[in-house]
Symmetry: C2
Subunit: 412 residues, 2 copies
């Protein structure tokens, strides 16, 4: 969805990197996070100040190879190395399906996946992930366990004004953001954390040093430019030759609004599906009052259909079942961010579904096609899905051909 | 050391990245390693064919955020998830000091640090790291345990013709390389693995997906260009307007030869130190017969000095003690790759050392200066050192100010 916007912006976000750059591991040796490029840090602070979605004063910025790496860095930073047992990591269901996989894949003695935060009843230390707006259902969230021994991580990847009203300035202890959800540059693999406590920020930095000895400086340089231009499009129309319609968040907001309208229209064609309801709120950034229009749609099959993913697959729409998100199979998650053609095709198919059997009956060959959707349809910008048999012996793992985006995809 | 060369090359390795690039997680969905940029893969294959240091036929290439991440990916790929106990990871001492730290920091249930491979006597599965040429001592190596249940990882980061004669084409099952040691671009955070077994390559890809959802595409694009130019400087003098003296490996070989001569001269000034002896061999790439001239010098204090690091620190030379590498404190490791001025200053100081007490007696203030060498002297291109108290509670960790390169540094 974002690609077209950046194409329209032409050379304004082009970066040029000479061959002699970045022969050092260090960006600024005097800083706590010594591999954070100063220009990237400046762009982050300026953007947060512009949007008003998070406090940056008295915060340490830690850069990571995507917020995925930062999530692991926080776990490492929060867990005492000599505890008698691993700390439980919790999140209220439905939760981002990668959280349990990332928490478990190395069988760490520091932390373990504790499951749905709503069901946590133990009186012991825990870490609770608060994803707001939430992936997959788009709802605004707060912590649910609220015990003394809990530490919170706020994953605010989607707290940007194209997705949801910026109704407050987040002021939490540990906040995670990522370039991929802010501007669409998923291939850049870059995220940042705003961290109040210096010792936690140091330990996170230590994790990233041990894990990857820092973070790509090329990615940081490029993201610095892109975030700078995002701010420029809002603050310097005249000076930088931007038209008003170029403003990044307005442009993206309009696209998201259009897509959600299109999606709700398709869903309203029949009474077989439903979408979450989002309350309206005033956005401090844009001044508009609107309801959230998240990056994902959390679609529910109403009535007697219990396995929404299978049902949609029979109708040539590939989605990701609610079971991966700790919820019912009556739900599926759908990306609202793919390219225009794909999204149009998806809503066309959704609106044409009836309870009658599909015209093409699913045979073995069709099932194979279903597991391998047309390659051209996979560029949704969404994150790849791990195979379900993760953690098996090498010979038992699923084929790399199955690393498909977990977002909606359409069959040929 | 490499920076000057790349400055001389001017715009030949400059990359230009437009703003609309890399909005997808995917590089090539049909490939096993779906986040590997095809241009980077081509540059790797071409360079290995040119140099003749490693077989690329029938190998899978897996890209990582430095070979540090690839090392962890291999451990994940090799360790069965349901084994009754973690597998021992071994390396013959002296070994790269980060191996034990990286293996232990998450207290994984899959693998654990087993120490010096020379001392391994158990009859059970193990993973042995074979680093050749070795970091820290520069010697060529082969596996030492040689039991049935062992799996080998060959870390060939330094197997390039500026450091050592290319006397054979490496043909191992799992081989690791990194851009930082090949061309000096440490800030790019990029490495690659050549892997024979498809299932291992798949599991490594899975690790990198879970760890960071792929690898910076900006870094890959840039490294692709740099490696391509390295090959061009050797293959296309006329066509690409390169002078013969521009050939990357010849140029770097000459610099390393000069530095080792300078270092051996300094060491020969007194009989207090010694350096390893390297046998001469014919390099298939250059046709020259020469002895290794490694990126690190493994310096030994002869005679009665037992703590070489402390002794040198008193003489205002900061080094890294052999104890961190699983060896005696009579040894220290010194980087041979810093900038010219630093290396000159270091050899000057080394050659002027006598057994007399140093002129400046070390007082408290001096010790503080010693822990904080002049910032300008730290750009050695070497990797940062973790603090020794790794794994303590956040409040107990050492200051980020102590994240200094583990290479030689000089006091003011």
């Amino acid at each position: 969805m974002y690609e077209k916007y950046w194409q329209q912006m032409g050379e304004k976000t082009t970066v040029v990197i000479p061959g002699w750059k970045f022969v050092s591991y260090f960006s600024d040796k005097r800083k706590l996070c010594w591999f954070l490029e100063p220009e990237f840090a400046s762009s982050i602070i300026r953007l947060h100040k512009l949007v008003g979605n998070a406090v940056t004063e008295n915060r340490h910025i830690v850069v990571g190879t995507g917020s995925t790496q930062l999530f692991q860095a926080v776990l490492y930073a929060l867990c005492p190395p000599n505890a008698s047992e691993p700390i439980d990591v919790l999140c209220a269901a439905p939760f981002y399906s990668s959280y349990p996989l990332i928490t478990e894949f190395l069988k760490s003695g520091l932390y373990k996946w504790g499951g749905d935060a709503h069901k946590f009843r133990l009186n012991k230390p825990y870490i609770e992930l608060v994803t707001s707006p939430n992936n997959p259902d788009g709802l605004s969230r707060q912590a649910v366990v609220n015990q003394d021994q809990g530490i919170l991580i706020h994953d605010l990847a989607y707290y940007w004004p194209q997705y949801t009203p910026i109704s407050y300035t987040a002021d939490y202890d540990i906040m995670l953001f990522t370039v991929s959800k802010t501007t669409g540059h998923a291939g850049t693999r870059l995220g940042w954390a705003l961290v109040k406590d210096e010792e936690i920020a140091k330990k996170m930095t230590e994790f990233i040093m041990l894990s990857t000895i820092g973070v790509s400086k090329e990615s940081q340089l490029r993201a610095a430019k892109i975030l700078k231009v995002v701010s420029d499009t809002h603050e310097y129309h005249a000076k930088h030759d931007f038209k008003e319609c170029d403003s990044f968040f307005e442009h993206s907001y309009d696209l998201m609004a259009k897509r959600w309208k299109q999606l709700r229209n398709a869903v309203n064609q029949n009474k077989m599906f439903s979408l979450p309801h989002f309350p309206s709120a005033k956005c401090k950034f844009s001044g508009n009052t609107f309801a959230s229009q998240p990056a994902f749609a959390w679609l529910k099959c109403e009535g007697k259909i219990d396995d929404c993913e299978s049902f949609l697959r029979e109708h040539k729409v590939l989605t990701r079942s609610g079971k991966h998100f700790g919820d019912s199979t009556k739900y599926v998650r759908i990306s609202v961010l793919p390219r225009d053609e794909e999204f149009q095709q998806f809503t066309d198919r959704l609106s044409s579904i009836t309870l009658m059997p599909p015209i093409v009956i699913s045979g073995p060959e069709d099932r194979a096609a279903c597991a391998r959707p047309r390659p051209t349809l996979l560029n949704s910008g969404d994150s790849p899905r791990t195979c379900s048999k993760i953690g098996e012996l090498p010979g038992d793992t699923c084929s790399a051909r199955e690393y498909f985006p977990r977002a909606m995809s359409l069959q040929a």
